[in-house]
Amino acid sequence: MAKNNTQQEELLGRKPPGWLERQLGTEAYRALRGMATNPISVIGTLLLAIFLFVAIAAPVLAPPAHTNDPYQIPRDGYGQVPKPPGTEWRTRQPPLPFWWKAVTGKDNWIHIMGTASGQWDIYYGVVWGTRTALRVGLVITIITAIVGIIVGSVSAYYGGTVDIVLMRIVEVFIAFPFLPAAMTLSAVLTPIIGRGLFPPMIAIIVFGWTGVARLLRSDVLSVREREYVLAAKVIGVSDARIMFRHILPNAIFPTLVWASMRIGSLVITFAALSFLGIGAEVGYADWGQLLSFARDWMTQLGEYWYIVTFPGTILVLFVLAWNLVGDALRDVLDPRLQGSR
């Protein structure tokens, strides 16, 4: 039968679907092929792959000094003045990575990217900060997306009073300026649940779900009126099934693009909170935290460039990678481009 189908496909003048296409289905395969042939998405995906590798290989790239608390950045003394890249570790040197000797031929561990004010090792913070960035970005984005999708689709599908009430709630949240609101809530939560990643994450989620709720609501509103939704009603499909099988797959693409870009921008927001001292506790491996160590040395960046350049560049690349992937996703998933194969 399979062979027969292949022959028929050839008769129809089409290439028989490959193994991957059969596994994924035509649409998903087309999206994947689009992603793989678009230079923008290839660069973005490559950058993301590097970040993923760094995050996974963190214990090998920068072995932790405190094995029970690897997110704590090791510090080399307590001096205020930053030290340039290449300075040797003097006190409390963490274990040497196995590849170090093979690559450099040296026996002692150095500060590859220098130290920040307070002698925190920048290289360690950058490497382990990748894990924090991915965790923070993904967790916040997934939770905000779920909340936003539920609120947005319920609001649009039921309409009427439900819609009015939900949208007024959304407007109340939007009325607060995002960053000050998140800072305030984070500051309020910190004494209650303790300092750490959770207060800023909760604060960002609480004030961040409204955008996606509105985005999805507007898309569902437009898809809801399409004739194929009426056609589904005509054959007696239930409300919930129409929502999830017929409407949502048509309305979700802008939200997916939003989500991928959001992961990048969230890390900036989170870094901003960390920079202001509201995010992670002091010494936690987080890019914003590293940047906040540079606060007192702003006027002398000519001399101490490395305290901003390394964490800053990484942050920019991380955001860029997600934006490139988001851009490419938008191109590939745009329903108007569907059918051009």
């Binding site: 189908n5 028929q8 496909e9 129809l12 035509t26 649409e27 009427g160 399409r226 004739e227 194929y228 939704v229 009426l230 056609a231 589904a232 009603k233 005509v234 054959i235 007696g236 499909v237 239930s238 099988r245 017929h246 797959p249 048509n250 329903p335 569907q338 059918g339």
Partner: protein, 337 residues
């Protein structure tokens, strides 16, 4: 009403009584369907004709109970399908009627299929829903249906997405969806309007063939009088939300008694007209359904109108057996040559 009741002695397949639908909009009340009544029997094909905005589609959607509520509201009436009033069913019971007993296909096949679901999925959905088929059974049946509506390589085409189908094929697929559960009545809402003439002819042939094979009743909504002539046994002519004339096709076409019907037929171009002949047209425009005039809705455009037409709405009354007309001056109306 009396003539109508005399007709409805035995039980019909479909009996629509005094169906009235209104839309309560911010601008006022839209009188979309104003008390229409008719009956249909097994295997009947009914043509519903009228110009855009005369309530043809709203009347069909009201029977399916798919008009948006609010702003729409079915004010009054009964829709008896084999004696069971659809307007009194719960939403859940109605869901089991839709697709299974009453099916509907739409005007634009380009937009009536969901672009992110395969054609097969959409055909199989009703089968699984109403007949409790397994994936495997539904697939076999869907293949059969696609073959029946004349799509080659049906088993393969099930996995295609709508954008891989041409317009005619999509309408065929829509018809397959509509027929999937052997409905008693298929409502076709201008299904050939968006297609070119050759495809239109193919689709009509297909529908005729399927009607004779499956024995279902069809309500064919259109503004194309030619289509109705070739397909239907009876015709309902609608104007401004009211049923103004109903009867057998031959009667309506040969012997129209409503000035509007006569005007519609008169405005058809004829092949034997000498070149340069101006087409006949009905003067004026259909009334705004927001505020219908008292009396006959057609009166302001009617050349036969007398004083009475502006005050008193005419009711459907027979001129011949089975041919009902709502016009006070029906005896004077003549066919336009």
């Amino acid at each position: 009403m009396s003539a109508y009741e005399a007709q409805s002695s035995s039980e019909h397949l479909l009996e629509v009584k005094n169906l009235t639908t209104r839309f309560y909009t911010e601008d006022g009340v839209v009188y979309a369907v104003n008390g229409i009544s008719y009956t249909m029997d097994e295997g009947d094909t009914l043509g519903v004709v009228g110009e855009s905005g005369c309530g043809k589609s709203v009347h069909a959607l009201s029977m399916m109970r798919l008009i948006p509520i609010p702003p729409g509201k079915i004010e009054a009436g009964e829709v008896l399908l084999r004696g069971r009033d659809l307007l009194k069913l719960s939403e859940e019971e109605m869901r089991h009627v839709r697709g299974a007993q009453l099916a509907m296909i739409f005007q634009d096949p380009m937009t009536s299929l969901n672009p992110v679901l395969t054609v097969g999925f959409q055909i199989m959905e009703a089968l699984k829903l109403h007949q409790g088929m397994s994936d495997h059974e539904a697939r076999a049946r869907a293949t059969e249906l696609l073959e029946m509506v004349g799509i080659p390589e049906a088993s393969l085409r099930l996995d295609d997405y709508p954008h891989q189908f041409s317009g005619g094929m999509r309408q065929r697929a829509m018809i397959a969806m509509g027929l999937s559960c052997n409905p008693m009545i298929l409502i076709a809402d201008e299904p050939t309007t968006a297609l070119d003439v050759t495809i239109q002819a193919q689709i009509m042939d297909l529908v005729k063939r399927l009607r004779d094979k499956l024995g279902m009743a069809i309500i064919w909504i259109t503004h194309d009088l030619g289509v109705v002539a070739g397909l239907a046994q009876r015709v309902n002519v609608m104007y401004a939300g009211s049923l103004i004339e109903t009867g057998p096709v031959k009667e309506i076409y040969g012997n129209p008694h409503h000035p509007y019907t006569a005007g519609l037929l008169g405005s058809l171009p004829r092949p034997d007209d000498p070149p340069g002949t101006k087409l006949f047209s009905i003067k004026g425009e259909p009334p705004d359904l927001l505020g219908l005039p008292k009396g006959c809705p057609f009166a302001p455009r009617c050349t036969y109108a007398v004083e009475r037409c502006f005050h008193e709405a005419p009711t459907l009354e027979p001129t011949e057996p089975g041919h009902l007309v709502a016009c006070w001056e029906k005896e004077r109306v003549e066919k336009i040559q």
